[in-house]
Symmetry: C2
Subunit: 191 residues, 2 copies
Amino acid sequence: MRELEERILKDGKVLPGGVLKVGSFLNHCIDTTLLAHMADEVASLYKDAGVTKILTIEASGIALAAAAGMAMGVPVVFAKKHRTTNVDGGVHTTIVHSFTHNEDYNVVVADDCMDESDNVLIIDDFLANGSALRGLIDLVTQAGASVAGVAVSVEKRFQSGGDEFRAKGIRVESLAMISAMTDDGQITFCS
Amino acid sequence: MRELEERILKDGKVLPGGVLKVGSFLNHCIDTTLLAHMADEVASLYKDAGVTKILTIEASGIALAAAAGMAMGVPVVFAKKHRTTNVDGGVHTTIVHSFTHNEDYNVVVADDCMDESDNVLIIDDFLANGSALRGLIDLVTQAGASVAGVAVSVEKRFQSGGDEFRAKGIRVESLAMISAMTDDGQITFCS
């Protein structure tokens, strides 16, 4: 999606350790005009896929998931990163490793949020190692639902997550797909 | 907002300790039709208030903030609950007490997200004791911006937060305002 790629080139910052900072427009401050266009793009990509529900993970995936859910007319579920008093009763749970914070955490969805009748589109902001998505796919599987596909804002194609899911036959759509980032700040997109 | 009140009566659950569970449609699973209507209501309430930016706090405030930001055509900032590697450089920070988890945490916004020119609408899902909103108002003040007002999905009017802010002259709009909840599940709204 050219608009997002151009914005990443203009306002994204490469930090040491291969971190791409997009907090000025995507996942801290949010340009809602860009967000609406991204949601429309996700809705267009998956318009014939029979999506019944969107699943994301708090916190950075929620804005795009909510916008895409409104554009597609389907409910959104966001998995929580630890069990709170606001999720009672039965839950599905999995463990996700955060490379950003270098720790494992529990990811939870209430078991009445998805069932066998659901065809779930999984949305997140970044796809790199695929740890969060692996957990979300596990939650969909536990619920007996099917995975319609994955949509992420930014895929770091030079890391292994995307290829792993595609090799399993899962459809993965990335609104911006980065082939290389250098420590001096150069960003190259897959053509 | 009658649609939200009726949904709370239909699908909300009162848990022991005065917790209102709305996870089946508002802050875990999200009914995006209802969400869009709530965002339109917030946009309508604040249409003449000169709002330039929306501020919320991860995670449960993000969906309504993003939807309202799209409806109003203004950017959204979501404050993060601890400093991460994705917020580098200067930040504003404050401390918020969570009654749900009974712990204090740091709440952070990058200092380039808001400035003196901003008139900020603060959005969250719940207003009870007002701890989160107090922190968000502190962040707006640190940035030198002004507070246009507050919009929350659900206010527990029988707790003190809302009155505290109104007494300070801050406009507070609640899409559903609960006057009383009983342990046997009765919910009464302010008329």
